[in-house]
Symmetry: C2
Subunit: 201 residues, 2 copies
């Protein structure tokens, strides 16, 4: 086992440190976040985290200082955003939406998708995604230690491939073909091993 | 595509709703969180999220109302905690640590592990894990919407299998054998597809 303290990486370049610390926390599920400002916007995020089932709340992290904040600004302005899952066949286009486009450029247009809208929801969906949610902004928290933002939203609508919900309520990500990501660019596939029984002392 | 609004699930039992909303946000990487109170404690968490590389910060979610808070109380008392990754061979024991043990019972003892300590770090490690980190508490935020806690910590030490770090700094989770989880009990394996190039407009 190698022992590393953050200062040991001082001589490595910036990209090495970013790759190391971004992949240290493991593998997550990326979502394309759809918002509406002057144009229909997509941002790629892998920091979505479950906060509770009743009401259904999800959190996500924004890095204000280092990436354009179109997604955050749009959410705070009109209160709505969508989460759209990424399947293996969508990886290349989804990843392309992570490029730093100008405010007036739509990532939908850039990758050749038509924004999909549902009644009364002022945020665009990616129709190609087999799991789509609409969320409403609830609250945000400023992380003092590095000026990131932790944003909380409530799930109001879900569109999902019916076959991907099993009889217990579990969503079967093998059926959806959900892709995974570690850090900014390392994509993974997943295969279910099985369910563990409820643990008792 | 099936359209679901949270109220549509009102007639389903509580377990269905918990399974549905816990697996909706995708698949994450579980970590065994080691803390020290009266005994050496392990809690199983899948809400670890990357907040930044410089300084290296990780966030995690605590549900104060529904699960015992030994892990949170220990962190707030002595300031330190460890994150220990779960490999496929560790799933059964790691999952068992999610049982609601009494405060004076050690999950290490319950699953037959000996707590591992490193100099000057008042929190126990799981020696069986090939990726172990020591973190210090930085700040916590109260999520008003459902009384959860978002806790931020700084990574101070890492112990990792040397072969799992590639020349770019990326941690290779296929080499570590990192297991994944969706919701509370659906375990997954992972396989790397590849790295996407840096996206430019």
């Amino acid at each position: 086992m190698r022992h590393i303290q953050p200062n040991d990486l001082t001589n490595q370049d910036r990209f090495y440190k970013v790759a190391f610390f971004n992949t240290l926390s493991g593998i997550r599920t990326p979502f394309m976040v759809g918002t509406k400002g002057a144009v229909a916007n997509i941002g790629l995020f892998n920091s979505i985290v479950h906060l509770g089932a009743n009401p259904p709340l999800l959190g996500m992290v924004f890095r204000p200082a280092t990436v354009p904040r179109h997604t955050l600004e749009n959410i705070l302005e009109n209160g709505w955003y969508t989460l759209n899952s990424v399947t293996e066949s969508l990886i290349e286009k989804a990843h392309q939406t992570s490029a730093k486009y100008e405010r007036e450029a739509s990532e939908f247009e850039a990758v050749g998708w038509k924004p999909h809208y549902e009644e009364d929801i002022p945020a665009p969906f990616v129709a190609e995604s087999p799991l789509r949610m609409a969320l409403q902004f609830v609250e945000k928290h400023h992380i003092s230690a590095n000026d990131t933002i932790f944003l909380v939203g409530e799930v109001k609508h879900i569109w999902i491939d019916e076959q991907a919900i099993d009889e217990s309520g579990e969503i079967l990500h093998d059926v959806l073909g959900t892709t995974l990501v570690s850090g900014l660019d390392a994509y993974y596939s997943r295969k279910k091993i099985g369910n563990q029984p409820y643990a008792r002392p």
